[in-house]
Every structure is written in C-alpha cells, then in structure tokens.
C-alpha cells in the first residue's frame, strides 16, 4: 500500500506544467489539436469546449521516454473585432448564450492554435530529432444546448419581467384614467406596448419570445373581466409582489449555480491539424510530416442536484473518428482511429477512461496485424481556472508501425497544468 501511495505522490509532485482542458468548465484552456499529432498528448479524446479569446499554456509530455515541456497557444479570431459600445458591455445579450443556430456557434467556438514541442524519434519514424511546430483548427458544428434548469429559470424570469412591464404600464395608464371609465382600452394598450417591448428586447432570446407572448395573452385574460379601476389597481399591486418574487427567485437560482450557462446535450466538433518537423532544429531540413482530421461527437448528461445548486455533476460520453496522413519518411501508411471515452465530472474534479483502436493502411512485413490500440485513465482536479492538477496512466500507441504490436509501454504522467487565459 505504501509503495502505491509513494508512486502516486511521486507523479503528483513532478513539477511539470500542462495546458489541457479540464473539460468540466466551459471556458478553460483546451489542448491544441497539434499535440495529438505530435504524440505528446496524454489523452487522445478531448471534450469540445468554448475557446477563450486567447489562451496559452505549457504542458509536459513524454518525448523519447522523458518528460519535456511543450508550448501551445489558442485564439478565436472572430473575437478580435468584436466591438461593443462601451456603455453596453455589461448588458446581457441573450442570443449569445441561448442561440441554437450553427453559424453563431461556429463563430463563437472557432479556435486556431499553434503548438511546439521537441520531436520524438519513434513517433516521427525516420526523421531526425528536432522541433515540431503544429497548427490546429477546431470548429463546433453542433453546439448543444444551455443547461436545462438554467433555461427554465431564465424563461420564468423573462415571463415575470414581461408581465411586470405590462402591470407597470397598466398602473400608469389607470392613474390617468377618469374615474368610472372602462379600463378595457387601457388594458389593451398596455398589452400592446408590453408586447412591443418584448419584441425589441435583447436580454430575452428570440427563440423564447413566442412562448412569452402567449403567456402575456393568458395573463391579460384575468384583468379584462374587471371593470372597476380601483379594484384593478389593488389587484395589480398584489400581482407586482408575486412577479417580483418570481423574478428574484429565478435569477437567484441561476446566480447560485457554479456554471449556469454551460452547454450540455449533443455537441459535435470538427478538428484539423498539421505538424512540420524542423530536423536538427534547422529551417532547411523542415518536413511537413503529418496531418489529421477528426470528428468528436459528445453527449453530456447533467446529473446536478436542484436542491444543492453548488453541486455540479455530469457524465460525458465521447467518441472519435480520426484520419491521420503521414509523410512517407514518417510512415509508409496512414492511420484511421476509432475511440470512445467516458468522463464523470463533479465540481472541480473529473475522472475519465478512454480507449482508441488504430488501423494502419500499410504495415511492415514482420507485423501481423494493421491494428493497435491505446487506453488511458485520467484524473484531474481544478485548483483555480488556470491551474489544474492532473494524473494520467495507461498504455499508449507504440509510436509507428516499425514497432507496431500490442502496446506494452506504460504511460504515467502527473503534474500541474498552468495556463494564461483571457
């Protein structure tokens, strides 16, 4: 038992630095797709996530059997020209959070990255050792949906807020109404203005407005039968108390959640990456060594408790299908990967297990099967948004088909991830 503890402590205390996505939180540093092609990434399947405007980090990976630092940075260029009037920068623009259409999601989740690492002589076959420089692109094609309880609370708030506008307008109109006059016309005009205000509002998502408009019509029904102005005014006062309580409660629940607007459900991400190797660290000996394209479908099942809003819990199911092209000096054939991953997230930590099967289009004569595999377990603990403690263990691919057999080499990488986020 003591030996096991010492083993774990040893890896936790290694002062290597990482820059990978802890996956639970929506806005954290993700890993560059280029790391996967360079072979320095402990895990092969990453949950799609929203990129920061800018993120950079250092992680360690196994290169030629030893831990070496690697650097990556990621940006979303669509955010560079994002201009908001200075006074409106604190406004809640609802469509930014609730939109289900693909194009806004693509713009929001598009990420370009650059990564660099020492190259591994096994991963890159016959190429000389040197420096690898890779680029990566991530595009979220299907963005998932906002956390369902947040959606329901927000709709409750938006409905109560729109009804409040109707009640306030009606109160103002009734105060100016001659005593004894029929309030019906005031009710109709207040409703008209409340609906116009709803139509114009940016803090209520467009997709929610039709339902709220129907809710306003139903709400109006209880007032039109009352013909006495004073009775109506007293009723409106009571209504305001109820509406205010509804608004405060709904908004309060959203504010207490740790990740209120996290996406869940089905998310589909497309990634592409390419890596050049500068052999012997010389520009003249650069080779475009490897390129890949892959699809990552994922489904997040929310397991959070509605009685304890501070508890965030979810289960992710992920898959991957990836094609990797190799320069003939790296590898005679190309790879096709299929993989699955399960990840359980609870507040600041997550635990995951993934398995990947790889098929090579060509293998040397002494290799009996074109198939190999990799399996990796991972445990992460988020200390702050930019510092994550991580421990990965498992069995990785044996580099290339020259040593293509059952992977016997153990991968065990532990350390602390550091990132710079904006």
């Amino acid at each position: 038992m003591n030996r096991i503890c010492c083993f774990i402590c040893f890896f936790l205390l290694i002062s290597c630095v990482f820059a990978q996505e802890p996956a639970l939180k929506q806005l954290e540093l993700t890993s560059s797709p280029a790391y996967v092609l360079m072979g320095v990434q402990p895990t092969h399947i990453q949950r799609p996530s929203t990129p920061r405007d800018f993120a950079a980090g250092i992680q360690s990976g196994l290169v030629n059997g030893t831990l070496q630092p690697n650097f990556a940075m990621e940006v979303n260029p669509f955010n560079w020209n994002k201009k908001e009037p200075a006074n409106n920068s604190h406004s809640f623009i609802a469509n930014d959070y609730f939109d289900k259409r693909p194009w806004p999601a693509i713009k929001k989740n598009f990420a370009l990255s650059l990564a660099t690492s020492s190259t591994d002589s096994v991963v890159f076959g016959q190429l000389h050792k040197g420096t690898g420089i890779g680029y990566g692109i991530r595009i979220t094609i299907i963005p998932g949906t906002v956390h369902k309880p947040t959606y329901n609370d927000f709709q409750e708030w938006a409905t109560a807020d729109s009804r409040t506008i109707f009640v306030r307008l009606l109160q103002l109109m009734l105060h100016n109404l001659a005593s004894g006059a029929d309030p019906y016309e005031s009710i109709s005009r207040a409703m008209e203005r409340a609906k116009y205000a709803l139509h114009e509002r940016k803090d209520i998502p467009d997709g929610m407005k039709a339902d709220i408009s129907v809710a306003l019509d139903l709400y109006k029904g209880q007032f039109v039968v009352i013909q006495d102005k004073n009775i109506l005014l007293a009723m409106l006062d009571n209504e305001l108390d109820t509406l205010t309580e509804n608004k405060t409660m709904a908004a309060g629940r959203i504010n207490q959640r740790i990740t209120p607007f996290a996406r869940e459900g089905f998310i589909l991400e497309l990634a592409h990456s390419g890596v050049s190797v500068l052999q012997n660290n010389a520009w003249g000996d650069a080779v475009f060594a490897r390129a890949g394209i892959w699809l990552t479908p994922s489904y997040r099942l929310d397991l959070s408790s509605e009685t304890d809003l501070g508890l965030v819990q979810s289960l992710d199911f992920l898959g991957i299908i990836r094609y990797i092209w190799n320069d003939n000096r790296v590898e005679a054939g190309h790879y096709l990967d299929f993989g699955v991953k399960f990840q359980f997230n609870r507040n600041d930590w997550n635990i995951s297990f993934e398995g990947i099967a790889r098929n090579a289009s060509e293998v040397p004569e002494n290799i009996s099967s074109p198939w190999t595999y990799s399996w990796i377990g991972n445990l992460s603990y988020l200390i702050t948004q930019d510092i994550t403690l991580r421990f990965s263990f498992g069995s990785n691919f044996n580099g290339n088909t020259a040593a293509y057999s059952e992977p016997g080499g153990v991968i065990a990488v532990g350390g602390v991830n550091f990132g710079i986020l904006r």
Partner: protein, 138 residues
Amino acid sequence: MAEFNYNDGDPVSIPVSPADRKKMIYLSSGVIPEMDLIKIAGYALIDLIYAVKDLIFEDHPLNKADQLFDRTIGVRVDATKFKTTTSHSDGSSIPITSKLTIKADNEMLAEFIMDDASHPTANSVFYFRFILIPSEDE
C-alpha cells in the same frame, strides 16, 4: 428584491436656463456591475410618456425643455443580475451602480448615481424622479 429611491423618492428640481429652454431633453441610463462575473438584464420605464427602454440606453429624447416644465418625470430602472461565467460565488450579491444623466441637447443638466451595495440582491430597482423648472435668472 431591493428598491432604491434617489433623494428618498422626492423629485429633484433641475433649473433650466433661458438659453436651454428650447433645447431637446435627452435621458441616458447605465448600469454597471462591480465585477465581470455578472451581466445585467432588465428594462427602464420612463413614466412621463410610458416608454419602455433597454436597461442601458443613450440619448432617449423626451421633449423640448419648456414643454416639460413643472411635470414630475420618473425613470424606473429594473435590473436583474445573471452570472455568466464559472464561479462558486453567488452573482446576486455583487453590487451594481445605476446612473441617469439628463442633457439639454449636448449640455449636461444633471447626473444621478445610486448603487445597491447596502442590500444587493438578484433584482434591484432604482427610482429617479426629477422636475425641470425655469431658472431664477430668467
């Protein structure tokens, strides 16, 4: 919910000089949170003409100054806080500041500022009331 009344709810008199009495009166409203953790939703209701505006708006025209003399003008800013980033903190407790500015064309007549720091909640309502009056040197 927390309600805040500027000047304890009494309308503030704003003198308008003869040079400004034919100018258009414009209102602007802004709401600023103390931290980037939250964003603000809600609306402002200008009760003189029953206009519903965004919570944050600039240069909303009312009328010529002399057409508004001696009438109480109320602006009700109904602000709701929503936590939009990842945090253990309760976004409802983050204070916000609401500001109303009144201009005659481009000339500033008055600026009112209130915050909910004394009792921050998820939904804070700020009332501003004022009366435009002819200045005594007229």
